[in-house]
């Protein structure tokens, strides 16, 4: 028995040294490392797969870490242990560029890849919603203008859609949406809520006179149960909507696209969220998606330039490309061409470009 125990120890030590030692000593990298947003992830992975199959390089490893986590990893430094590319569902922030610069990541190439439509949808078992952005604002803001018409805000009194707009159904307001940590939520607030608030002239006036209060009025989402923070798993939201026809949900267009037989997108200001409507800009709620390249790694880690070329080719991000099949809304032709040219030159991002 004693002997067996000793042998077990020997085996453990063997594995410790055998497995851990090469890992610590040296590991060359022959594949791309990509991190970042879970929204860009479904698109980046398609490109990576195509790239891996056609180019002869290894398929890049893509992690879904969220935009913030992606930037943290990306900006941690230059070198094989750090990722080469980070995906983001928002632009990099000046503070993040500072972090990058402090760690020696000075040259970053920004690539805008297209747009992601944000939709409000409900189950097909319920009547479709026809909304304006003002309706959505009134339904979801914490403070709304006094329904009596006075120029002051009151805590949101609306319980059903009908109370907001008589044309809407009398069902309870119940919207499942992303949590405040999410870029989708951020974009929704900016594109819908702010816009809806600005439809009141006196609030719009506030924007100039008292910006802080304007933002407090326009950007705060109610917390009394009508807006349910439902996590980042959009499929789960879709399935919850199917199980509960009275609720509506906020998520990315690709999930609506894939589940058109189960859910329907709300018509916003008389435009349905279709691929074409988002692409030509007539559907008002969409946001750009990006990825960022660490220029110092280009030519050092195999395949970066080729991967980027694949991503920025027409067969990928063009209107008929395979990314469009997956629900990515392409940029207009001119912008796309310009972007492809900039990327091919590896044009670095200047900090001034970020406002």
């Amino acid at each position: 028995m004693l002997k067996k125990t000793l042998q077990a120890f020997a085996a453990v030590i063997l594995i410790w040294t055998g497995a851990a030692a090469p890992a610590m000593a040296d590991a060359a990298r022959d594949n791309l490392k990509i991190v970042g947003s879970s929204t860009v992830y479904p698109f980046a992975t398609v490109v990576a797969e195509q790239f891996g199959k056609t180019s002869g390089f290894k398929t890049p490893v893509i992690e879904s870490t969220g935009s913030g986590g992606g930037f943290k990893l990306f900006c941690a430094g230059v070198g094989v242990e750090h990722p080469d590319i980070t995906n983001a569902s928002r632009r990099i922030k000046p503070s993040e560029m500072d972090t990058c610069a402090a760690n020696g990541v000075n040259e970053i190439v920004e690539v805008k890849i297209g747009y992601d439509g944000i939709v409000l949808a409900n189950s097909r078992k319920a009547p479709p919603l026809k909304l304006t952005r003002r309706d959505m604002y009134l339904a979801l803001a914490r403070q709304v203008p006094d329904p009596s018409g006075a120029q002051k805000v009151v805590p949101n009194p609306y319980k059903t859609w009908k109370e907001i707009n008589p044309a809407l159904p009398a069902s309870k307001i119940e919207v499942l949406g992303p949590p405040p940590t999410s870029g989708t939520r951020d974009a929704f607030v900016e594109l819908v809520m702010e816009h809806g608030a600005e439809s009141y002239d006196w609030i719009k006036a506030l924007k100039k006179s008292d910006e802080k209060q304007f933002k407090a009025i326009s950007q705060t989402v109610r917390e009394d149960g009508a807006y349910i923070e439902a996590g980042e798993n959009d499929n789960l939201i879709v399935q919850k909507l199917e199980a509960n026809p009275k609720a509506a949900g906020i998520f990315g267009f690709s999930f609506l696209d894939q589940n058109v037989d189960k859910i329907q997108g709300a018509v916003v200001e008389n435009v349905s969220p279709t691929f074409e409507a988002i692409a030509d800009g007539s559907y008002p709620v969409s946001r750009p998606l990006f990825f960022y390249i660490k220029k110092a790694h280009v030519g050092r880690i195999p395949g970066i330039a080729e991967y980027v070329k694949e991503f920025s080719s027409e067969k990928a991000w063009g209107p008929d490309g395979y990314l469009a099949d997956k629900g990515l809304i392409p940029m207009p032709d001119a912008e796309r061409k310009q972007m492809a040219a900039d990327v091919a030159r590896m044009k670095t991002l200047a900090k001034d470009a970020l406002k």
């Binding site: 004693l2 002997k3 125990t5 000793l6 020997a10 030590i13 040294t17 055998g18 030692a21 610590m24 000593a25 060359a28 990298r29 022959d30 879970s38 002869g56 390089f57 969220g66 935009s67 913030g68 986590g69 930037f71 943290k72 230059v78 070198g79 983001a88 569902s89 922030k93 503070s95 020696g104 914490r142 949590p179 405040p180 940590t181 999410s182 870029g183 989708t184 951020d186 607030v189 933002k215 407090a216 950007q219 705060t220 989402v221 917390e223 149960g225 349910i228 923070e229 439902a230 996590g231 980042e232 789960l236 919850k240 199980a243 110092a296 790694h297 030519g299 050092r300 880690i301 195999p302």
Partner: protein, 459 residues
């Protein structure tokens, strides 16, 4: 790998040499009784002397080799390359390694890099040979020295046992290191969080609403970081889970160990263990898509206002998941109660169930409490089920039909979000982790005291 196999063989050889030597020293197999220890211990003693120092040399060499070689190679690079920043240099080193491993060379390979790669390979070959020589020399030296010192008075067993004891003790400190590691990796970020949010607000605040702005030019709403509702939600959900798991698990354990026949037991116990092994992701989907709508619609049927992400759904499913934890550990504890106690109770005329309730259970109680505490810990720390089924809205409520949120849900959502990584929102995750850690630590200290006080040993 070759070297390690060789070393292993040598160690085995050392074992038999030591053993044979001991027998010889004692004067043949019939008179091994004159030895201080049994012959096998001399074998092990020799084997340890042969293998252990060599293994330490090997491990140290492996750890340092890469760095040493890289250092040497870098020193040979042209000066203009050496003057690059450390980060750039690491990319050049990556180039060199890519060439060494025969990967696709990227871009133009400069002659300096090519030369460096060749140098690296040469040095590596030298290093391998030197390593082999050092390891084998050490093994042989150890073997020889040990072999020569074998003597009938040599206290081989005591020495071997001391080493084993030392190893066992070393293993037990891993828990301490893990704890230190966790505290260190959480504390720093948590402290940064407490710089922007006062500790008292965090601990006693009754509102949790991390709606701080994602961008600096935005205004979030309240941005309240009061942990009380989050903690209350955690306790509510795990409380429900324990209400499900403890009775079912305990009764199942009792039935299995006291009533069930061997056949039933051998079928049911593994099945229950499968229940514990189903990935929590799957439970999460089950809770969110099957149980929650079910509870919601049945609640509506009897006129109750049930949230679509009620604490009840998450708690119920979590309870199901925890049943096998409770049952498996209680089962072992009940089995450990000596049969004589049961026989005594039967002899006094107690029925089977009376024996169980009044004799077996009290005897097994400290162990069962330990198992239940383990299950409680599991419930508090469970992440995926609540992430999918429990929602994110922090209500301070005891109503199981409302939506609550838990500490783990908040940690996950805060960490994988899109916001800036050093904003209080992300840092709050670390503070919550620390809080959870401290609370469970407190609970465990109490539990340890209780269990120790009432623990009994029979026979």
């Amino acid at each position: 790998m070759m070297l390690l196999t060789l070393l292993l063989l040598m160690t085995l050889a050392a074992y038999y040499l030591g053993l044979r030597r001991a027998v010889t020293v004692a004067g043949g197999p019939t008179s091994v009784r004159v030895l201080h220890s049994r012959p096998a211990y001399y074998g092990m003693w020799t084997a340890i002397w042969c293998g252990l120092p060599a293994l330490i040399i090997f491990a140290a060499w492996q750890m340092l080799e890469g760095r040493m070689l890289t250092h040497l190679v870098v020193a040979q690079l042209p000066p203009e390359m050496q003057s690059l920043s450390a980060a750039r240099l690491s990319l050049i080193v990556n180039d060199i390694r890519n060439i060494i491993y025969g990967n696709i060379p990227v871009g133009q390979v400069s002659p300096a890099v090519q030369a460096a790669a060749e140098l690296y390979l040469r040095l590596q070959a030298i290093s391998r040979i030197a390593l082999a020589a050092a390891v084998l020399a050490s093994a042989l030296a150890g073997l020889g020295a040990a072999y020569g010192r074998i003597h009938i008075r040599l206290r081989a067993r005591n020495q071997v046992e001391r080493l084993v004891l030392w190893l066992l003790g070393a293993c037990s400190t891993i828990a301490i290191f893990t704890t230190i590691g966790i505290v260190l990796s959480v504390l720093y970020e948590a402290l940064r969080f407490f710089k922007s949010v006062p500790l008292t607000d965090f601990l006693f605040g009754l509102q949790w609403s991390p709606q701080m702005a994602i961008r600096s030019d935005q205004v979030g709403s309240s941005g309240a970081f009061g942990a009380v509702p989050v903690l209350a939600g955690t306790l509510l959900v795990s409380g429900i889970a324990m209400l499900v798991a403890v009775p079912i698990g305990l009764l199942a354990a009792i039935y299995m160990s006291e009533y069930a026949g061997k056949r039933l037991r051998s079928v049911v116990k593994p099945l229950m263990e499968i229940l514990a092994g189903i990935p929590t992701v799957v439970y999460g989907f089950f809770a969110a898509l099957t149980v929650a709508p079910l509870i919601r619609s049945s609640g509506h049927a009897i006129g109750l206002d049930v949230s679509s992400e009620s604490a009840l759904a998450a708690g119920l499913v979590m309870g199901i998941m925890i049943i096998p934890f409770v049952s498996s550990l209680s089962d072992d504890m009940i089995n450990a109660v000596p049969q004589s106690l049961r026989d005594g109770a039967y002899g006094l005329g107690a029925t089977h169930s009376e024996t169980i309730r009044q004799v077996v259970l009290p005897a097994a109680l400290p162990g069962i409490v330990g198992g239940v505490l383990l299950a409680v810990s599991r419930a508090i720390g469970e992440t995926m089920i609540v992430v999918m089924a429990a929602g994110l809205t922090a209500n301070l409520t005891l109503n199981p039909l409302k939506t609550v949120t838990t500490v783990t849900v908040q940690i996950v959502t805060l960490l994988v979000g899109d916001q800036e990584f050093d904003s209080p929102k992300t840092l709050a995750a670390f503070a919550l982790g620390l809080l959870l850690f401290v609370i469970t630590l407190g609970l465990n200290i109490i539990a340890l005291k209780v269990v120790r006080k009432y623990r009994e040993q029979y026979e």
